[in-house]
């Protein structure tokens, strides 16, 4: 089966959807065992690679890009509704 997510760095706890994933669709990518998307993940948006607790760092490119504001389940959509920027809070 073709990869539909991309894990950029081994430390990352989110991956990038290479196309829009439907809720329930199996997410597959190099370095991950397949797991289902819990909700629709729009193309080029982020999907959680594991359970992420509220207040935990969101890691992409091997670096902290944000902090989660609530618990996020593996396979969940990770975006502005459940994270916040560490800087430039406006």
């Amino acid at each position: 089966m073709k990869d539909n997510i991309l894990v950029i760095h081994p430390r990352d706890n989110v991956a990038v959807a290479l196309r829009t994933l439907a809720a329930g669709e199996q997410a597959t990518g190099k370095g991950t065992a397949g797991f289902p998307a819990l909700e629709e993940i729009p193309a080029s948006h982020k999907i959680a690679l594991r359970d992420i607790s509220a207040g935990e760092e969101i890691i992409k490119y091997g670096e902290t890009i944000a902090v989660s504001t609530r618990d996020i389940k593996k396979g969940g959509w990770v975006h502005t509704h459940n994270l916040e920027s560490r800087r430039w809070k406006k």
């Binding site: 073709k2 991309l6 950029i8 190099k30 080029s44 944000a66 502005t80 920027s85």
Partner: protein, 386 residues
Amino acid sequence: MNEITGYERETGSFGIRNHVLVLPTVSCVNGVINRISREVPEAVCITHAHGCGRGGPRDLQILFRILSGLVHNPNVAAAVIVGLGCEVSNTKNLFPLIKEAKKPVEIFNVQEDGGSLQTAKKGAAAARRLLAEVRTQPRVALPWDKVLVSMECGGSDAMSGVTANVAMGALSDWLVGKGATVIFGENTEMIGTAHVLARRAKNEQVAREIEQMIDRAEKLSKDIMGNLASLVISPGNMDGGMSTIAEKSMGCIFKGGTSTINQVVDYGEMPKERGLILQDGPGYDGDSMAGLAASGSQLMFFSTGRGTPAGFPALPVIKVASNSRIYEAMKDDMDINAGSLVEGKPLAELRAEMIDLMIRVINGEKTKTEANGMEVLTFMTVHPPF
């Protein structure tokens, strides 16, 4: 298989092209350059909009550094310089900086050489002479530690930081591993990543220079754009899946890979260190390319998602499309399709493809921008003209 060749210069640098550059000191003589270009199409004839009318020390520093830096660029074997006579960057002022490149240079001035038509005639004859002179220079083995590759992104889309810049980052790490030098600029697209880049600095001093560079870029953006500065992470970016400024900038800086940062150079300044180098230059593609070329880069990778055809004079530019749609839509302009990652091509395979193309380009194969003649020269200024 990884063998590369180039043209050795007297100063010890190596070009991957053997161009004769025809350069005006000031925009007033652009017409002369255009005439020479029609007569001697094999020469690299460049026009630009600068050379006079700005007096601040920073603008003068940039003007002289870029003009002389283009002559110094290792891909230039010889140069014809056409001046006017009364301009700020006149040939007398420029000559001491150009002389250091130790290349055959012929200089003309329209006010002393009989006006525009006569100067064009003399310039064209000189260009033909120099072309004949450099034509016999053989290619020799080029050591990787003499290679300086620049990484640029422009006309970016949401996939640029996911496909093209990631692939270019993997290539950057490979190049640094080979002993080559990789340079990238665009300080506005580093905002939010100071902590990441500074941590990778080779020492405290470089770390401080990185932080100061990004602070200045952030402050300048806010001074110029006011509240609009927050638009560096725009609703369009968010629709595209980017959640924070740090995430957006990470996508940009990833094109330089993950190596230790050995030096921060000023706009158009030549690095003294090898490995990964940052340039304190602007985000605007055209201006950024000039700074990277003047720093001595012989080859550039340029990622684009919206699709820009722009290349740079005397510098082979390899265009990396971030998505298959733009690769297909602008096929004549794109060299690599990083959108293939989305179709399941492994990153290692794409990188191998890029290395293979890079080696062919170093050894003489033309990039799309070279073949199409899409070169453009524009460079940064600080103040408006008076």
